[in-house]
Amino acid sequence: MSAAAAILLIVGRELRLSFRRPEQLLQPLVFFLIVTTLFPLGLNLQLSLLKDMAPGVLWTAALLSSLLSLESLFKSDAEDGTLEQLALSGQSVTVIVIAKTAAHWLLSGAALVLASPLVGIALGIPSAAFGTMLASLVLGTITLSWLGSIGAALTVGLKRGNVLLSLIVLPLAMPLLIFGAGATDRAISGTSPAGALYFLGSLCVFTCTLAPFAAAAALRITLE
């Protein structure tokens, strides 16, 4: 079976499995919405002032809710032995990792991107900045799925692996947060977000190129 066909097959499987449990699907999304609500409630600001914090709030919430769904990236398959079967199937581990990470992004990152205009309105982000916000979130969530995939591969099978996962992924994700929020921030204040978006783009490309190999290597280490 060609790599592309295998990827499509695995992505399809992931999507089908997730749609059988729609509540599981909605959890990261709901978490995202709840966390973005917490900030304005806690800070008690007027909507006009809220928009200054909005990019940071949006991005922090996106990061945290991505982390939630990352834990299950490899875990359930590792637990019931499916992961080993996939590894033994003859497809390279890299292909499997690409497929699972792509599925993860489709199920969580894409959902966040789609929900973000709603959150943007709630946080007072001007609609002129929405384009940048969406672009930065797309690039950022893809990068995050890959960083998370490395972290999830390293911690699969560990007790309390989710705490360790956050500890590993969050420092790596900090530059992402800085530039993602920075791009949206610049768009809100009217200056050009191009520089930050280019940087995000290059981070994304860099991660997409190298992370599959790192995550596959990590899986080989933790699974053998």
């Binding site: 911690t155 360790l164 420092p171």
Partner: protein
């Protein structure tokens, strides 16, 4: 030509060599740091702009340098372990982590204390400070990951992989003052050519940098001996060594 490389893979060789090197590293460190600290505190003239506060550079810059050097060593040693399956690589990586983390903390705190009189703030989210803070988190992550595995071999390999992934942060720390206009001052010594500092200020700094490196070598060797013993407890050569 490669025999020296493969000899490094031998635990008894590492044990003996580390033991032999430690006193040399320690004396060199003591001499260099002794001179650097005294000359830096007493003999170097006060800076035109910063007055006597600039003297913090004599402990801040070597700490920061060491924090990056230790991490790079950790990552390279881990890579050697992963690529050539040389277990001593993992040993060097394991012992470098706490040393490097302590110097990262030192760099952050001394930098903060220097920032207060110079910039008016104990902290700023500028690229260099932020990436140095990320370095601290990376150290903690690597140490936690290694200890989280029941099988120490797996822990070694996972930690080595994580260290390699995180090594991308090192050039970011170093070049952040070049790439971005930020609060933190630019490179003082690292430019090829005539450094911006006069000799009376520069030599103590170079001495401190050298001294800290030798100190790292000494502490690394000390810890490495312990680490080798821990990993090779059952081996015959350990029995012989412990009898003495």
């Amino acid at each position: 030509m490669w025999t020296w490389f493969y000899r490094l893979a031998s635990p008894p060789y590492v044990y003996r060599t580390a033991g032999a090197l430690t006193p040399w590293f320690l004396s060199a460190a003591a001499a260099a740091i002794g001179y650097g600290a005294v000359a830096g505190l007493v003999f170097a003239p006060p800076d035109y702009q910063q007055g006597d506060a600039f003297r913090i550079i004599y402990v801040h810059a070597p700490s920061a340098w060491l924090s990056m050097f230790a991490y790079t060593t950790l990552a390279v040693a881990g890579a050697i372990g992963l690529i050539w399956r040389i277990k001593m690589g993992y040993a060097v990586a394991a012992v470098s982590a706490p040393i490097g983390a302590s110097f990262t903390l030192s760099a952050l705190v001394t930098g903060s204390l220097w920032g207060r009189p110079m910039w008016g703030t104990y902290w700023a989210w500028d690229p260099r400070l932020t990436s140095e803070l990320i370095l601290l988190f990376l150290y903690v992550g690597v140490m936690s990951l290694r200890s989280a595995f029941e099988d120490p071999g797996r822990g070694d390999r996972a930690a080595a992989l994580l260290a390699i992934v995180g090594v991308v942060n090192i050039p970011i720390i170093h070049y952040s003052v070049v790439w971005w206009n930020s609060l933190h001052q630019g490179a003082t010594v690292a430019k090829i050519g005539i450094p911006a500092m006069p000799g009376s200020m520069l030599w103590p700094l170079l001495a401190m940098l050298l001294g800290f490196m030798c100190f790292y070598g000494a502490v690394l060797c000390m810890r490495l001996r312990g680490e080798v013993l821990n990993r090779e407890r059952q081996a015959a050569w350990v029995r012989e060594a412990m009898k003495s």
